[in-house]
Symmetry: C2
Subunit: 201 residues, 2 copies
């Protein structure tokens, strides 16, 4: 990957990725068009292609930067910390990601829904390895009787499912709750309660 040198190039690359994120995250890879991305970015279509060799390359650039941000909070779960505190912190940070980066969450969801054709490697590699490592930590805590004995991978799945739901199904959540609700604030309290009860030995 060759990428930006000058200031202007950096700024334009940024503008394009921002626009691409907006479009890919709502329409998926095949549903997104360069026309749309160009319009959102306020640039001409050929200009997009000047910065990125193809539509595919834009998508790839977004996915690459995404996965890192996405896995960061899990990486930070400290094996030497207090188990419940560490897990609840992870839940909270993951929910904050959903609140602050809903488009990234939807981009990821779109990719997985489609069978992860452009992410197979990353999922089979980094992600699986990290989950394996953290599952070992969780299992260790369980064996020490510090949290309830549960299948660690499924515990992690449930954190992902519950937090991402508020970003990915935002439209549905807001429709059901109606006016005068702050979905993410309520979710924060609810998930805190849920995992406290679940983890109690």
């Amino acid at each position: 990957m060759s990428r930006p040198q000058t200031r202007i190039q950096q700024k334009n690359s940024e503008t394009i990725l921002e626009a691409a994120l907006e479009v890919f995250s709502t329409h998926g890879f095949r549903g997104a068009t360069l026309d749309q991305i160009a319009e959102v970015a306020g640039l001409s279509k050929p200009n997009l292609i000047y910065y990125f060799p193809s539509k595919e390359a834009m998508h790839q650039a977004l996915l690459t930067r995404l996965l890192d941000t996405w896995l960061d909070p899990l990486r930070e779960m400290d094996p030497d910390g207090e188990p419940v505190t560490e897990i609840l912190r992870y839940v909270r940070r993951k929910l904050e990601l959903s609140r602050d980066y809903p488009r990234e969450s939807r981009l990821f969801a779109n990719e997985i829904l489609q069978g992860a054709p452009r992410m197979q490697a990353a999922i089979a590699g980094d992600l699986t390895a990290l989950v394996a490592a953290k599952s070992a930590v969780l299992r260790h805590w369980m064996e020490a009787g510090r949290i309830a004995r549960l299948p660690p991978e499924h515990l992690i799945f449930s954190i992902w499912a519950l937090t991402q739901h508020y970003a990915d199904f935002d439209v549905q959540v807001r429709a059901v709750l109606g006016e005068g609700h702050d979905p993410f604030a309520e979710a924060g309290d609810y998930l805190d309660t849920l995992f406290r009860k679940l983890l109690a030995p």
Copy 2:
């Protein structure tokens, strides 16, 4: 909607919807093409258009039949039943839907991810009304001290999120678990435990 009269028409309509489900559920509405649907269905492209006036109409037909199936298990939650039993039954039935109809689950997820442009009405109407009704039931059980006091809508969201995750993120789940796992069987046990602990007063 005018629809099938003869046997042949019924059968072909069915074949087309089946193929359309396959394609829409993996690529989203805009990402799906009539070419693909025609190929999967084993029919010619114009023949598709003979049965359905447009791509849009096929999608609509799928969404309409979907929502009903989708909400059925929630409808069946019995206000006069034993609370924990009723809720656990709902969780189990919803998980079975994810296992048996993963494409329908992904079709729905795709539509919501995109902001539900073709489902606004249904979500604001039937779905919201049903959730309101069942939330009242849950709240009643909580006030009677029969289950833990929790925000009822979020309790329902968590059932949706946890069960649908196994259909929508199937690729990820299987990659993380590796060989020799039955994700849905394990999820069944795990979610049973989770909700039992969560609902205990």
